[in-house]
Symmetry: C2
């Protein structure tokens, strides 16, 4: 999913209104965060002072699994850790502001915080995109290492700071799928003339490969695919894709998601409001964001496997790998696209430089360690 | 590193006293967690009630990078989030109790919490080992998904609950290296007669391959390798290995760490003491653990790359991959070892079953997603 899904209220309404999507909603993902009222033998809870009451606006439909429920989890964590001194009411897209309005709403302080994914705000500064995902870029583990230990968060602070915002990772989809296709993709040439719903940088790559990029709100994708208005679409991964019912409309499910190798979801805070918090509440917000970031990735990782199994075993979906040659050709085009994007603002140039340097250094280690171990570990699966 | 490093005070002293290791200590890793005293315009901090003052005992030498400093980071996070209502004094190995005494000290309440790695306590219940790492088992991402979203933490609660303990992940080394070798390893046969310092389950595999497993405290490894008392040793990864100076004593640095594909470090709480905390402090401890868990893995991931570069470019270390055939042969032996270990206690049987089921399901997804993307992403590095 990318920001162009959110270019209008209709887009959000489409997402929220899709029956397949509604079927995806899962109340079970709201986890209890620990009860109240047990014996307090050690320390009195914190209840002095005024209560901080904040609003969080998101880009997600109500109950959207892991993403909207993750935002709600963050709010619950903050409330429990602060013993009720800080409450955050979470509003899904359109409940308070439209999905596309989240950035401005938080920037201006209409809401104190919000959630989405940084690349939705490429129109504010193209630099935002590197904090979500760029084609053939860092995966979730690499992205988190860049953020927390490689200077990424400092760059993010600089970019969002231009808009009176502070952004923090609050989840990651893990490696997405390349998408659903009504025809086989055996080489880069098979993208020629392909009508594909794929927004953002991925779409620019497909366009460069000769495809026709179609932009559709979430709620219209299934029907368009079923009726042949489009030949292919990307979405997220097995968990979310299963619930969209794409397997009923397309035969081939391709991997890997070269365009989104681990898309970061964020929480953004109004900078003035955040800076006015006392140190303990600031730290609680930071910790809740990090905890939710970890939890969301784990939920995707744990649940995608079962969904993939259901897609294959129950719905007879054919999982295919894009060939190394196809991926190599896409990567050449992606590098052109990303390099061009990096020239579009001074911050984009700076962030792209930091990202690329980190990917090179971390990648050389990941190549020796994680990649090699994956090969070893996977043989026996 | 495994529990047998910690079988005596001498082992810990050896680790702590090694000059190479002392050179590894880095005060910069102590990060500021946010200042105090800024304007509190929104809510008064929490300072009512008695202060909770806890002791944390660890298995690590003072200032041991990422591991001991991570434990100190956790304590700082808890203090800031609780606005000083909860303070944890952190003691390195031997400062209050010996490294091997941590489990009992926390179980009995001599200290309220502690840090190490679960497999150090295999002697208490062999089931503990699955929460750290088993040969060819889940990597860091899989292990975290199992813990937080696949039932792993429930099993951990059950195992540690037998000892009045609660355990939580508080870091992960990521994929370790297979070790330093004075001779080439081209097949499983090359382990025959090899004198290798490799404790734990990995050691049992090497013994089954015909190697001679030598147990040595950390401080004696370098000298033993240099003098030919041993032919090979495993340790952690580039960051820690560089500072141990192994490159001066062995020529070949093999990957991947099939025996520790992502070893989990933990924080353990005395269960009675933890349960007596008010809900907010419980949640703060949980969040601080999760945040530290993420940070430690990111620190390893971000810093290992630079260390590996230094090893290769400055010290001319030869990085070699174990051949797929060697790894396949090791895996056969590892499965025998792990299966035997799973029969050694009722909880080990139960935990191994849960672990294996999760690895199978998650692995099928990781194979399609993360592994495939790694191949794609890495081509360009």
């Amino acid at each position: 999913m990318k920001r162009r899904d959110f270019l209008s209220k209709a887009a959000i309404a489409g997402l929220a209104g899709g029956t397949a999507l509604l079927a995806a909603c899962n109340d079970d993902t709201k986890k209890a965060e620990g009860g109240k009222g047990e014996a307090n033998q050690a320390a009195a809870p914190a209840q002095v002072g005024k209560t901080v009451h904040w609003k969080m606006v998101t880009t997600w439909p109500p109950k959207f699994p892991i993403l909207q429920t993750g935002a709600e989890d963050l709010a619950k964590r903050v409330e429990v850790m602060s013993n009720g001194r800080m409450k955050i009411d979470v509003y899904a897209a359109n409940e308070l502001v439209p999905g596309l309005g989240v950035f401005d709403a938080v920037s201006q302080g209409t809401a104190e915080c919000g959630s989405g994914s940084p690349y939705y705000w490429a129109g504010k500064d193209p630099a935002c995109q590197w904090f979500s995902a760029v084609p053939f870029g860092l995966n979730a583990q690499g992205l988190n290492a860049w953020f927390y230990s490689g200077g990424g968060l400092d760059l993010w602070d600089e970019v969002y700071g231009q808009f009176n915002l502070i952004g923090r990772p609050m989840g990651n989809t893990g490696v997405q799928m390349a998408g659903w296709f009504n025809r086989e993709i055996n080489s880069i040439d098979d993208f020629k003339g392909l009508k594909m719903r794929i927004p953002g940088l991925g779409g620019k790559v497909i366009a460069r490969a000769g495809g026709t990029v179609v932009l559709l709100p979430g709620g219209e994708i299934f029907t368009s695919l079923e009726r042949g208005v489009i030949d292919a679409t990307e979405w997220v991964g097995p968990l979310h894709d299963l619930r969209m019912g794409f397997y009923q409309a397309a035969k081939y499910y391709y991997t890997p998601g070269w365009h989104e190798g681990g898309s970061c979801l964020d929480v953004m805070f109004n900078k003035d409001k955040f800076n006015a918090l006392p140190s303990d509440l600031k730290a609680i917000c930071e910790a809740a964001a990090a905890q939710t970031n970890m939890q969301a990735l784990c939920d995707f990782e744990a649940q995608n496997g079962a969904a993939l199994k259901e897609l294959v075993e129950k719905h007879h979906v054919q999982v295919r790998k894009l060939t190394p040659e196809t991926l190599a050709d896409l990567r050449v085009l992606a590098r052109e696209v990303v390099a061009e994007e990096a020239t579009k603002s001074p911050m984009a140039t700076k962030v792209a430089k930091g990202f690329n340097e980190f990917q090179k250094q971390w990648g050389s280690w990941a190549d020796v360690s994680s990649r090699t171990y994956f090969d070893t570990m996977s043989i026996g699966v």
